[in-house]
């Protein structure tokens, strides 16, 4: 990008630099930790069995990472188990959702029926499907996978079909003029043109899938998972473990979201949909 110096200066004054934003974020984190420490360790507003201090939570995470007790040292395998489950479910959801979305985008009757129903199903909280899934698939990780796929699939399908319909008519006409027809038009013109919107759908699908996963894992047993860590913490009155697990769930969810967001904004920039870098 070539901009004149004056213009560049104005540009940066509106848009804080990367480092500045990062320093704000770190400062915010320190402040949150500070308030947490103040409320728990200094003011002792709550008993430790209700709201543990940051150090108590860190201790639980430490035990989870390299403790040697019977219930310790399970954090990494729990994270691994949960990630494997969510990534499997997410991959299937994206494939399935993409396919159904394509069909819905191409065929009006399907769009007006299935599309409308899926919007309705999406409004049902994922946890509501778990008892039903357990009846069909048993008290095991397949029930969780089912819910993850369901939750991830819907936003992808809706995003793909919506994005296909939102392709500027000019591109469609241009494609036709240049000889693209039917499937070729969809795959080589419409799909690439709708990529930015599809990516937004993929990001939504990720956060839906991640939430559905943890909810489902709370209800099943016998597999190493973050949900199980939460349940063990809850059942043994170990609030430190509960809070630590919540934080880890948040960090993982946030990290993946950041990666997907980076890809998305990169694509949006390449498509000329965003001005700044």
């Amino acid at each position: 990008m070539t901009t004149r110096p004056a213009e560049a200066a104005r540009f940066t004054s509106d848009q804080p630099s990367r480092w500045r934003v990062l320093s704000w974020q770190i400062l915010g984190l320190i402040l949150i930790l500070g308030v947490w420490w103040l409320v728990t360790d200094v003011l002792k507003l709550y008993p430790a069995y209700v709201f543990p201090s940051p150090s108590a939570v860190w201790k639980e995470i430490e035990y989870g990472l390299w403790g040697s007790g019977p219930q310790d040292g399970k954090l990494l395998s729990a994270v691994g188990g949960s990630l494997r489950r969510v990534l499997t479910g997410y991959a299937i959801a994206v494939l399935l959702g993409g396919l159904v979305g394509l069909l819905m985008g191409a065929w009006l009757p399907l769009r007006t029926t299935l599309g409308a129903y899926l919007t309705g199903v999406q409004s049902v909280p994922s946890i509501a499907f778990v008892p039903f899934a357990i009846l069909f698939l048993g008290l095991n990780e397949r029930a969780v996978l089912f819910v993850v796929i369901l939750e991830g699939f819907i936003p992808v399908a809706l995003a793909v079909s919506g994005a296909l319909l939102n392709v500027p008519p000019a591109l469609r006409v241009a494609g036709r003029t240049l000889g693209a027809r039917g499937l070729g038009l969809t795959l080589r013109v419409l799909l690439p043109a709708s990529l930015p919107n599809i990516l937004t759908g993929l990001r939504t699908a990720w956060s839906f899938a991640w939430r559905a996963l943890v909810g489902g894992e709370l209800l099943i047993a016998g597999v190493a998972s973050l949900g199980e860590q939460l349940e063990v913490g809850r059942n043994t009155a170990n609030v430190g473990l509960v809070l630590g697990t919540i934080i880890i769930i948040g960090i993982i969810g946030g990290l993946f979201d950041t990666v997907l967001r980076a890809i998305e904004s990169r694509v949006r920039r390449d498509y000329g949909l965003e001005v700044q870098s």
Binding site: D14, Q15, P16, R18, V21, L22, W24, Q25, G28, L31, I32, V35, W36, V39, L45, Y46, P47, A48, Y49, V50, Y63, G69, P70, Q71, D72, K74, G138, L139, A221, G222, V223, A224, E228, E231, V232, R234, N235, T236, A237, N238, V239, T258, R261, A262, Q276
Partner: protein, 328 residues
């Protein structure tokens, strides 16, 4: 990667303000003055028979006089402990596992009496191949909830038979299921065995399922507390006369259970029907009664052993000094 949002500072301010507001809103409410309601926690199991009898015969309400009794039923000790930590329960019938956990975490808890001993059995589904503890390998075993008294017992049984739970790298799946729901889980073949408190063991046995560990072989020749009575220390300090009245009513209920078992069984059955909708055959109830002992005594040694099992299961890292939690 970085969100270039100019509103960010405002947002992070909100993020900071939220916990502070929450702090104000959730300030714990201590039992400052004499209580007008006594919140009593218990489970709909035979091992909590003193609670069931006391409720059915109105013994507790009579003892409290004008103070209202608010009975709250729970599925297992772990959910009860949660309510206890939140200050929602004043007096509770609970298993030693969760009670010891609560004590170890520094909750204001005092152990004031025993309620029942033994009364938990290990039942295998009739069409499963499980004949002994060793056969549990590769099977799915239900307990009322992870970390509760039966779960701790089960983990000890597994340990003694060189087995491990799946989440600990072993072969046995341990599934938390509410005792009253185990009947349905057996029928649907969702689990292969269960360590349950009575009367559910006897009910399963009456349906043809096999008892592979009775109340005696489960642990310590049957000399282990299954239910004890705990009280919130703050509540006890503010309402000593209510606690004393409750203890008397509890002692009466236990005496009634031991003196007139037939009438007591009818009372327990009536209360269980109200709570769970399950009508239990009197003969089944009788069998369940025979496997449970009711006592107000607290066996400190057995509690200490339980505490050690809790550590063995990994639910606590150290055993708390229990004598300081016993009623002085």
């Amino acid at each position: 990667m970085i969100n270039p949002n100019p509103k960010l500072s405002k947002r992070s301010f909100l993020t900071l303000a939220a916990p502070m507001l929450l702090t104000v809103a959730l300030s714990p409410d201590a039992h400052a003055q004499a209580a007008t309601t006594v919140r009593l926690g218990f489970f709909p199991n035979l091992t909590h028979a003193p609670a069931l009898v006391g409720l059915e015969r109105g013994t507790f309400q009579k003892a409290f006089g004008a103070v209202k009794l608010d009975p709250k039923e729970f599925v297992s000790g772990t959910t009860l402990t949660e309510a206890f930590a939140a200050g929602q329960i004043d007096i509770a019938y609970v298993g030693p596992g969760p009670a010891i956990n609560a004590a170890g975490r520094g909750m204001p808890v005092q152990f004031i009496a025993g309620a029942s001993e033994a009364g938990a059995v290990l039942v295998a589904r009739k069409d499963s191949a499980i004949k002994s503890y060793k056969d549990l390998s590769g099977k799915n075993v239900a307990v009322p909830s992870l970390g509760n008294t039966q779960d701790i017992s089960l983990r000890h049984i597994l340990n003694e038979n060189a087995l491990k739970s799946k989440t600990d790298g072993g072969t046995v799946t341990i599934t938390p299921i509410a005792p009253a729901d185990v009947l349905a889980a057996f029928a649907a073949k969702r689990v292969d065995a269960t360590l349950v408190p009575e009367p559910w063991g006897a009910v399963l046995e009456a349906q043809g399922h096999r008892i592979i560990g009775n109340e005696k072989t489960v642990w310590r020749e049957g000399k282990y507390p299954t239910t004890i009575v705990i009280v919130n220390t703050k509540f006890a300090q503010a309402n000593p006369q209510l606690v004393a009245a409750f203890l008397k009513a509890h002692t009466d209920a236990v005496a009634f259970l031991n003196k007139s078992p037939a009438a007591a069984q009818a009372a327990v059955n009536a209360q269980l029907f109200k709570l769970t909708g399950a009508k239990i055959d009197p003969r089944v109830m009788q069998r369940a009664f025979a496997r449970t002992r009711f006592t107000t005594a607290l066996d400190l040694e057995a509690l200490k052993d339980y505490s050690a099992l809790n550590v063995e299961a990994g639910y606590a890292r150290t055993a708390p000094d229990l004598s300081q939690f016993l009623k002085k």
